[in-house]
Each structure stands twice: as structure tokens, then as C-alpha cells.
Amino acid sequence: MHKTSASIAAGVICVLLLAACGGGGGSSKKASLKGSAGASTSAACQGAPVRGGNLVYERQAAAETLNPLQIINGNGDIFAYNQIYSGLVRSDPNGGSRLEPSLAQRWTVSPDGKTYTFTLRPNLKFSNGQPVTAEDVAWSLNNFGNPKVNANMASVAVGYDKATVLNPTTVQVKLKQPVAAFLYNISIWPAFILPKDLVEKQGSAFYKHPVGTGPFMVKEYVKGSHLTMVRNPYYWEKGKPYLDSIRYNFATDSNSRILALRSGAAQIMDGLPFSQIASIQANKNLRVQSAKVPLFMGLWLNHKNVKEFKDINVRRAIQYALNRQQMKQAIFHGLGQIPNSVLMGFDMDAGPNRVKPYPYDVAKAKQLMAASKYPKGFSVTLQYPSGYDFYTQMGLLLQQELDAIGIKVKLQETDPATGTSNFLAMKYDMTFPFASFTSDVTVPDEYADFVGNAANGLNGFFSGWKDPAINKEIDTFTTTLSNSERVKQWAKIQGDLLSQTPVVNVMNLPFVNAHSATTCGTAIDALGSDHLEDTWFAGGKGGAAATTAATETTTG
């Protein structure tokens, strides 16, 4: 009796210890992904797409509302909108900043750039089978353009005047001024097309069981838990979507998401931590996918609070002092991209030959500091969001590297909400303001305006910096219609901004997802959004039935 009890107790301890050893390890292999488009194709995905299957997707951010005009939870909401609704135009599903027709079959732009005429695809239907009318389109666009209705994203409706119905398949949009990014602005969620009659009749109840023109439609939505969607039989792309259903499981904890993927309960997860890439790559049943998106480690300098940042020599010295190659390897496991811009990387950006990135050159940085008004250096506080290992590591590296040129950095970890608030109130010296810092559109217009337009009330996007010459260049850029002209203008602006360094782009980052090897067609567009209408399972099978799939265990 005694012996048994002792050995059971000892046995329990052993199991726990073993688990501790087994669980903590993981592969020590360095991660490397070839190219930024993400080496994710597996042999199983070579054939033609197969119809059927239920996909379970572990998602970091929850969908908190399905109302595209009242977004409250960033990507959590956006990725749900993108499955349920669609707009007149869309980003190329395979990445890049090219736009392509979606609900609109084609469009024309007047020579003054102020009138857009859209022709709708014939026989478009909402997911409940009712036809999409020109009235629905004009009404939805007018909501987009109304800052009272589209309060949360009013800035993307810049220059909008009104939409009118010309005939049952044609809608005309008038702008108050030429807006170069207009088509980009209406390619995203606030301009998605909704059924006017249903929304007006049902009010906020509509968004509990919304009707849209996206590839999927809502079957079950449990806030804080999951969102299950099934194939929209009226989706305009013939034969798509391939999947019968998709289920978004909301799982803020990255370990939970990884475990769900590894156990086979889920087939895709987003927000793979950089530190976990190697161990996922070591698993032959899983694939890591990285996609180039406008996401970056933006280090913001407060020109109002810190007089030293007004000195261009100091700002440039910071650029030269950063050992980005080391950061790329040590923190981002080789997945970061060294920037040649102060903003997030855009498709339109000029290459490193045209706009040269700052090399790592401590001697040059020291020279610049010596030439500045502050040769003896100074002290600043760096705020960064808590809960992200890569920010902590980045903080430590920056502290070390800036110390070498006489800038003493005090690290201050704040919870993301506090950090963002301090940023918006300009209560910081240096900060990484957002846990995830991205542009909403694939062209630079939004952020160029945010940072460089002194008239927008954003105070150089809360940096306190302004430059009338660059401001003028940006104004011209955002209202020029010719794309080739814009590319030339942008190269100049990109170079001027980099030379002035109002703020610092430390590193461009990809979106890193992981999925099972038999999950195919997982390309991500230039905004990081999945196009699950293109996704299919090799062999036609993925998870179990979507309603219970979160807890089933099937091998991927």
C-alpha cells in the first residue's frame, strides 16, 4: 500500500518534469524563408483546386462587430468584413498594390480626376439571393463619404462628394478634388456594398445576421469565441469559394493558436511569433508563410518634447547607429527587411539603388553627433508596448546602440493602450506607438499625408515635425492622377523624408502566418488579408464539420 502510493506520487512528479523538459525545447535551427512572398507552396498543392472541406482558422484578434462602418477592433473586424462583404474594386489577391475589378466590372475616370463612373457586373446578388442594385451601391458609397456615418474611418473618404445612380448598372461618383488614392480608398471595408433596404429596415439587428456579396456568409457568431461562415452560393466568382465553411476561432494567446494548429484542430493561424518560426518549420506537416505588407517598426521621435531631435544631425546619427542587420537576424529570425524609407514599405517605394538605406556606421554616427549642437549626448526615454518579446529585445538593442553615440536611453514598457494614448497626446520622447503599425491602404498616400501634411491637425502624426517643402510635394503627390508621375514624385518624397528623418523606420516586417501543408491557396493580399475564396484542401479534406471543428482532432 505504501509503496504504491509513493510510486504514484513520484510518477505524477516525473510526468510533470518530463513535460517541462519536452515542452520548453523546440528546434534551435535558424529560420529562413526565401523571398518575401512566402515559401509556402507544398507538393500537395500542385494540382487543381478541390471543392469542399471546413477550415478552422485561429485568429489573434476577435471580430467585435460585423458593421463595417463602426470598426472597433482593427484586423479582428476587418478580416471578418473581408469574407462577408466586398466592394467595387479590390487589391490583387496575390499581393502587390495592383487593383482589380470586384463588384464593378469596369470604370472610367474623367480627365480632371473628379468623376468616376462604375459599371456593375451583371446579375450580382447578395448572399440572400436578392439582386445588388445601383441604389445599394450609391447608398453604401454615400455612407462611406458621410463623416457622421463613417466616423471611424472618415480620413479615407477625403475629397468625396456624392454618388448618383445613372442607370440600373451604372453609378457615378463625384469628388470635390482629385484624389489619387480614391480607388484604393474604396477598395477597403468602409466602402463595402450593403443592401440598403435590409439595413434601413433592420437597423443594428442587420449586423447580427448580415447579408453581403463576399465569398462567405455568417452562420454563427459568438462574440469573444468564434465566427462560423459558410459558402455564399451567390458569390460572383464562378466556382468559388472552394471551401464549404470557415470558422474563425478567436485566440489571443499565441501558444493556444500554435497548439491548435499542431494538434490539427485548426488549419491556419495568424500572428506567428518570430521566436516560434523555426519550430513550426521543423514540423513537416506545417508551413510558415510570410507576406510583404505595409507593416513596420516605426520609431517615433517627439520634436516638441526633445529639443535634441530638432537637430537633423542627431536624427541622422540615430539612423547610422542602428545595426539593422543584427536586429534582423537576432530579433526577427531573418524575416525583417531593411528599410530605405521612414514609413512602412510600400509597393510604390523606390528601390535601394535609387533611395539608399542608411548603412550601419558608428563612426559616421559619432561624427554627426560631434557636429550637432549636443556633442556630449543627452538622455531620453523610450516607450514600447508590453507583451511582445520582440519589442523588449528591440528596446535593449537600441539602448546599447544609442549608448555608443552618447544617447542614454531609459526603457519604459507600457501596456499597449497607455502607449498609444501617450503617443496621441504626444507624451513621449521616443516611442514605438503601436503594437502593430500598418497602413490601411497599399499606396503611401495615407501615411504621407499623416506625417507630412501640416494642415491635417495631426501634428506630423504626433511627432511635432513639419517641413513646408516636403508638405508641398506630398500635396501634389496625393492629387496627381498619372501613376507614372506619382511613382517619380514618390521616389523624391521617399528620399527627402529619409534624408530629413522626422521619424525612424527601424525595420519592415512581414505578416507571418502558419498553415497545414495540405491547406492550399493561402495567398495574402498587400494589406495582409487572406482570400479564403481561393483556399482549398489537398485531398478535399481539412478539418471536421465547422460547427464542432474547434475541438475535433484530425491530422492535417
Partner: protein
């Protein structure tokens, strides 16, 4: 007894009021503007001002507090604007999962803890006793998130007995999805049960009536089960009621690890986004649970043991 009860209830109300004041001012004084967090950098100043006004955030803090108190007393807990639903509705959606989890964890704590305590107490300092004590120290020292992940790794990923995360309703869904989280929560609590019950049992086993029971020739099972255990359980129940607070705290972590859509994950989201009214309601709810549990323990003890209630007079 009635006087004692009134006294205790009055104290409970004071404690809850204090909690309300503390959470209100703490969450409001922490930096972070909920409106800007939710609306983001794109919102027009007019839109921000409009929402601030709707939430009364443009009024002086004391006025906000007064408004909040009067609303709470009328049973209105406000609007969880980061979720877009009334607080009451949000809480009722999330309450079930947490209540089920906590109950299940409590049952596991008792089912695991009581037999181990008896086993250990039967031969103090024996091999079983020492192994159990070593084991409980070990389990108690493990952080909930780590224990949870380990269980998910072993029983979810390797053995595939349970899903690694998620939540389902229904009897089968309940056992399938809540077993691992309940073990994660219940095991540390079981160690508390083992330790208190073991020491109470040891002192009770040395009392004269146990001696008397043994001398009457009762079986050991009967002596322990019928006489010793009953007299030792009281302390354990008191300790357990004190641990309701610990349980609620740990459930936040466990819900996060296993992705259970309960009140714990809700609280985390609410704090992250500074959803003031939701945070306040959740703190009040958790506080009420703790206060009620300790009240219940006190009352039961007073009812069973006259010394407790007489001491108050």
C-alpha cells in the same frame, strides 16, 4: 444569530462600496483614452468628441462617479462600447462558461484533495505522506499558465484525449472542453485542500473521541469517514471560501490559455481597451462573489459553532 448576520451583511456592503470606489478611480486614472483606442487615428475630432460625450467622459471625474453610482444602484451597469452591447447582456453571455469552469475546478479540488489528505494523514511522516506533501508543494508552485500549457501539450497535442483549446456547451462539450482547464485550476486548489484537511485530520485523530470510537471497535474506515472527517471538513471549507478570490484570479489566466469565452478573457479585453464600465462591472461581480463566499463560510461556521457568533457580541 440574526444580529450577527446583519452585522456581516453591513460589512459586506461597505466592502463592495469600497471596491466600487477603488476600481472606478483606478481605471479612470490609468492613462489610456478608451475613445481614441477604439476609434483609432482615423477618426475625426468631431467623432471622438461625440463618443466622449455619449460616455460622459467629457464631464468632471466626480460627476462621472456620481452618475455611475446612481446608475449602478438602479441596476444599470452601462454600455460596453468596445463590444457594442449593454454590459448586462455581455456579462450574461460570458457568465456561464466561467461559472461552469469554477464549479468543475472546485469539484476536482475536493475529489482529488480529500482522498489524498486522508491517505497522508493516516500515517504522518510515512512515505505516502511525504510524497504527497512533496507533490503538493510542487504543484502549488507551478504557475497556472504553465500548468495549463503542459496539460494541453500532453493530453491535447500528444495523447489527443482533449482539444487543446476552445469551448463548447452541452454535457459532452462541457467535459470535452472544460476538463483540462478545470484540472489546471483545481489542482493547485486540491493542494490547499490536502494541506488543511491533513493537518485538521491529524489533530482530530489525536482527540479523545476518536480514541473512544476506536476502543468501541469501529473500523478505521468508519472512524475516519464518520467521525474525524466531518469534524475536520469545516476548516477546509473555510479555507476554500477564502480561496474563491484566488480561483477567480487564476481563472483569468486559465481562460486565456484555453481560450474559453468567459468573464476572465472578457476582463482582460476590457482592461486592455479601457472599457471603463465593463471593467467596473466585472470587478464588482468578482468582488461580490468573493464577499458572498466568505460571508457564506462565516455564517455556516457561526451556525455550527456558537463560539464564533458569541464572540461578536
Amino acid at each position: 444569530m440574526v444580529r450577527y448576520l446583519v452585522h456581516r451583511l453591513a460589512l459586506a456592503v461597505v466592502v463592495l462600496f469600497g471596491l466600487l470606489v477603488a476600481t472606478f478611480f483606478m481605471i479612470h486614472l490609468v492613462p489610456g483614452d478608451p475613445v481614441k483606442i477604439v476609434l483609432g487615428v482615423h477618426a475625426t475630432p468631431t467623432a471622438v468628441a461625440h463618443v466622449r460625450h455619449e460616455l460622459n467622459l467629457d464631464r468632471p471625474l466626480l460627476t462621472q462617479f456620481w452618475l455611475y453610482m446612481t446608475h449602478v444602484l438602479q441596476g444599470h451597469f452601462g454600455y460596453a462600447f468596445t463590444i457594442g452591447a449593454p454590459v448586462g447582456e455581455v456579462l450574461s453571455q460570458r457568465f456561464g462558461a466561467t461559472a461552469a469552469l469554477l464549479t468543475y475546478a472546485m469539484v476536482i479540488a475536493l475529489v482529488v484533495g480529500i482522498p489524498l489528505a486522508i491517505w497522508a494523514a493516516r500515517r504522518p511522516n510515512g512515505v505516502a505522506d511525504n510524497s504527497i506533501r512533496l507533490g503538493t508543494t510542487f504543484v502549488f508552485a507551478m504557475p497556472a499558465f504553465w500548468l495549463g500549457l503542459m496539460l494541453a501539450l500532453i493530453f491535447g497535442l500528444e495523447l489527443k484525449w482533449f482539444p487543446v483549446s476552445g469551448y463548447e456547451t452541452g454535457i459532452a462539450g462541457f467535459f470535452k472542453t472544460l476538463t483540462l482547464p478545470a484540472i489546471t485550476l483545481g489542482l493547485p486548489l486540491a493542494t490547499v485542500v490536502v494541506r488543511t484537511l491533513r493537518s485538521s485530520l491529524l489533530s482530530v485523530m489525536q482527540s479523545e473521541y476518536i480514541e473512544a470510537a476506536r476502543s468501541r471497535g469501529l473500523t478505521e474506515r468508519r472512524v475516519v469517514g464518520k467521525h474525524a472527517l466531518r469534524n475536520s471538513m469545516m476548516n477546509t471549507l473555510t479555507i476554500l471560501s477564502v480561496n474563491v478570490g484566488f480561483l477567480i484570479g487564476a481563472s483569468i489566466v486559465v481562460e486565456q490559455v484555453f481560450q474559453i469565452p468567459g468573464l476572465g478573457t472578457l476582463l482582460l479585453e476590457a482592461v486592455e481597451k479601457r472599457d471603463y464600465q465593463l471593467v467596473q462591472a466585472l470587478a464588482l461581480l468578482a468582488g461580490t462573489a468573493v464577499v458572498l463566499a466568505s460571508l457564506a463560510a462565516d455564517v455556516i461556521q457561526a451556525y455550527l459553532d456558537p463560539r464564533v457568533r458569541l464572540a461578536q457580541q
